[in-house]
């Protein structure tokens, strides 16, 4: 299975007569994009705004971020089972508008959407301050049930990403990223698997694998290329800091790093997808099953990532314990909730086997975000989103808020360079 990502570098985004890419600028026909999204009659009002890195712009409340892409060759379609036909992803050529992103904006339930600052002190916490963003501001029809609302917003984002991605179909890429799990001849290299649990706790906490709601899967083996090619879609509004957006899935940093060192320092043997469900029986079953798969494929070491916090800490610890009990060495990636003063214990659960942990930062740490010239969306919900509190929004539009509210600030796929140290 050989996947080529044809990278087309995007350095600016502008409205234009025609949706196209010229000289590194993505032009968007606003009317056409709105028309496309409005086809879903569950959305009453749709607007599109553009923003670029460095601008004095705050986007809020954000649900998902998606990288625009197009399949150039290979039989499958992007986001299969959701907006694409069913087919196995991960082969052929996919062109990518690298540096551009669709950002879906609008309140769904209100707690779990996040914010992106395009400049200022908040910008360094979010990778999406570095992308040229096409923000879709989406309002539902009156009385739409939350489940349907979430789905409408999710589909709108994916459709828009595919619509923009089409502009890249016939472009010559600036560079080519090739992903292929070639057999490793050096048998002394350690065999390493990646265990990737997906949040699947119900409305606003769901993830889709080939269109299947992840809470209904038994853990399964997947080729890393499928993940990098759109097999996983976020339907998820848990705290902004540590949910995996669809963008994160498409650019999974653990897979990228394991590929980079494949055949040199290690032998990357595969990815086990699991879920993060709401009952203890499910947690036991999924961690049993995922651990067994890791053993079955002959892993000697495994990276385990997490999504969300609190009860998913239990899944993380169960996976760690059970995989270590098979004699397989593990490293975990998690964020911390150590309180605003950093003085509290960071996790809800712990096992002694978890002796190798990567911390991607304390999500409770508070940051001052200055007012911005332009707001995409609105700030009204700042006090109730996860990470906000009464009084966190000042009258001038400045925020004093936990980094928990910033999209991707403590991504537990290890996307960023933040960590927390013990002082």
């Amino acid at each position: 299975m050989r996947l080529e990502l044809g990278i087309i570098k995007i350095e600016d985004v502008q409205f234009g007569e025609e949706t196209t890419v010229r000289n590194g600028t993505l032009y968007v026909n606003k009317k056409e994009l709105i028309g496309l999204v409005r086809q879903d009659d569950r959305l009453s009002e749709v607007d599109v705004e553009l923003t670029r890195p460095g601008e004095e712009v705050r986007i809020m409340p954000v649900k998902d971020v998606i990288e625009p892409r197009v399949k150039v060759s290979g039989s499958a379609e992007l986001f299969p089972g959701i907006i694409g036909k069913i087919g196995t992803l991960g082969s052929g050529r996919t062109n990518v508008l690298r540096g551009a992103a669709i950002v879906t904006v609008g309140r769904i339930v209100g707690y779990q959407e996040g914010l992106i600052d395009m400049s200022g002190p908040g910008a360094q916490y979010s990778p999406f301050s570095q992308t040229n963003n096409v923000a879709l501001i989406l309002h539902p029809i009156h009385g739409l049930a939350p489940h349907a609302h979430e789905e409408a917003v999710r589909l709108a984002g994916l459709r828009a990403a595919v619509y923009l991605g089409k502009t890249a179909k016939d472009l010559a890429p600036d560079e080519l990223e090739v992903y292929e799990l070639n057999p490793v001849t050096d048998t002394t290299l350690p065999r390493v698997a990646y265990v990737h649990p997906l949040l699947s706790e119900g409305l606003l906490h769901d993830t889709y694998l080939y269109g299947v709601d992840a809470k209904r899967i038994l853990p399964s083996l997947i080729h890393p290329n499928e993940v990098m090619d759109g097999a996983i879609v976020s339907g998820n509004c848990v705290s902004a800091c540590d949910k995996h957006t669809t963008y994160h899935h498409l650019n999974n940093p653990v897979i990228k790093e394991l590929y980079r060192r494949h055949g040199k320092d290690l032998n990357f043997i595969g990815v086990v997808i699991s879920n993060l469900n709401v009952t203890l029986a499910d947690k036991e079953r999924s961690s049993d099953y995922a651990s067994k798969l890791v053993k079955l494929i002959g892993a000697e070491g495994a990276i385990i990532t997490e999504e969300g916090f609190g009860n998913p800490d239990t899944d993380l610890m169960m996976l760690c314990k059970k995989i270590e009990e098979y004699g397989i060495k593990t490293v975990l990636i998690t964020d911390e909730y150590a309180g605003r003063d950093g003085g509290s214990q960071s996790l809800a659960d712990a096992v002694p086997q978890a002796d190798a942990v990567i911390s991607v930062g304390n999500a409770n740490e508070v940051i001052d975000l200055p007012p911005m010239k332009r707001i995409i969306g609105d700030l009204k919900r700042a006090e109730v989103i996860a990470g906000g509190f009464v009084g966190c929004l000042s009258t001038d539009g400045g925020l004093n808020i936990e980094i928990q509210a910033i999209m991707g600030s403590t991504c537990q796929l290890g996307f960023g360079t933040l960590t927390a140290g013990g002082y």
Binding site: G202, G301, G342, G343, V351, P352, I358, A386, T419, Y423
Partner: protein, 351 residues
């Protein structure tokens, strides 16, 4: 150097200040101008940049018998000297002296907002009491380690005096305070994870970025004996609140709990109650809040005489990214209130 020297006030016990031994251990705080006892070599090590302007002295027994009051009484004389840094000890392995050093540093830091530092032996009981609030650097267990620890204390005092940033405990040589502080490092979490895994697989040393916490244990409470005449209370971390969340408990990282009267309420209905918890799908709890706070069931058991009475108030917070330290604090206050109200048993529900 025309620059202003930073000002230091030093704390010593009666013994190191040369006042006397155990027979003088009950003297109340007094102040001496300039450096005294171990303050002299400390001053020497500080050189021209900083000056020990005064030394506070207090008897060990006096301090240990009135820890809070003694610490308080140290603050005022210290403030008169307008110091930039407060330093205490070294206390080595002396228990009462260690507590005096820790408590005076803690009080000065809280009241005057200036940086503080002390030194003691790793097994000094005061270490666990004060390491969270005070920079404590390691010393030997007895006065024989004086010459060795003074230069390290001096360099730390200098760092604080010159308002330089304090680095990680390993780099700057102090006991970790257990405070988690964010920082950007050059490499992504994924890169660090693969590195760490390779080290672990090769049997090479590696350092976890988060050592597993240890959790406190409490002894089990005694049984509720006469259930049919007992008062039982409900407490939840599931965020069930009156509609509109009147006390505005946060959806995550709760900074408070609330108490609501449920006398006369027989069922939690969506027109009067809701969840304000931001960590789970709220649809089910909003449709029927009894699914999280089982009030209807408790009323049924009260009616049929299984329990004597459901307590007239319930307590609620949100257990979502809420720090354990906050949760502990809420728990202590709620427990006191329940005890004062003669509640016999508590059912705590969580989501």
């Amino acid at each position: 150097m025309a620059e202003k020297k930073y000002r230091v006030v030093h704390y010593l016990n009666q013994f190191y200040a040369g006042i006397g031994g155990e027979e003088k251990a009950d003297i109340p705080p007094l102040i001496k101008e300039g450096a005294v006892g171990p303050g002299r070599p400390l001053q020497q090590a500080l050189g021209e940049e900083g000056e020990i302007v005064a030394t506070v002295v207090c008897g060990d027994s006096y301090f240990a018998e009135n820890i809070e009051a003694a610490a308080e009484s140290v603050v005022e004389p210290v403030s008169r000297y307008k110091p930039d840094v407060f330093v205490a000890g070294p206390a080595f392995n002396a228990g009462r002296y260690g507590i005096a050093c820790g408590a005076s540093c803690s009080a000065v830091s809280k009241k005057l907002g200036i940086p503080v530092i002390t030194a003691m032996y790793k097994e000094n009981p005061a270490l666990e009491l004060y390491r969270k609030e005070v920079y404590i650097i390691p010393s030997a267990d007895s006065v024989r380690g004086m010459a060795e620890v003074i230069p390290r204390m001096a360099s730390f005092v200098r760092k604080l005096g010159l308002r330089q940033e304090v680095g990680l405990p390993e780099a700057d040589g102090y006991f970790p305070r257990g405070i988690r502080v964010n920082q950007f490092v050059g490499r992504t979490g994924a890169e660090r994870a693969v590195d760490m895994l390779l080290s672990k697989l090769r049997g090479e040393p590696f350092q976890t970025e988060y050592p597993m916490p240890t959790f406190e244990r409490v002894p089990p409470s005694p049984v509720v004996k006469e259930l049919h005449s007992a008062t039982i209370a409900l407490v939840t971390s599931g965020g069930i609140v009156p509609l509109g969340n009147p006390d505005r408990i946060e959806a995550a990282s709760a900074s408070k709990f609330a108490e609501y009267n449920i006398a006369g309420v027989h069922d939690l209905t969506p027109d009067a109650y809701q969840t304000c918890h931001g960590g789970y799908d709220p649809v089910y709890a909003n449709n029927d809040p009894d699914r999280v706070l089982p009030l209807d069931a408790m009323r049924a058991l009260e009616k049929d005489g299984t329990i004597g009475k459901l307590y007239d108030h319930y307590y609620v917070t949100v257990g979502n990214a809420t720090s354990i330290a906050n949760a502990q604090k809420f728990g202590e206050v709620i427990a006191e209130k329940l005890k004062a109200a003669d509640v016999d048993g508590v059912i705590l529900t969580s989501t």
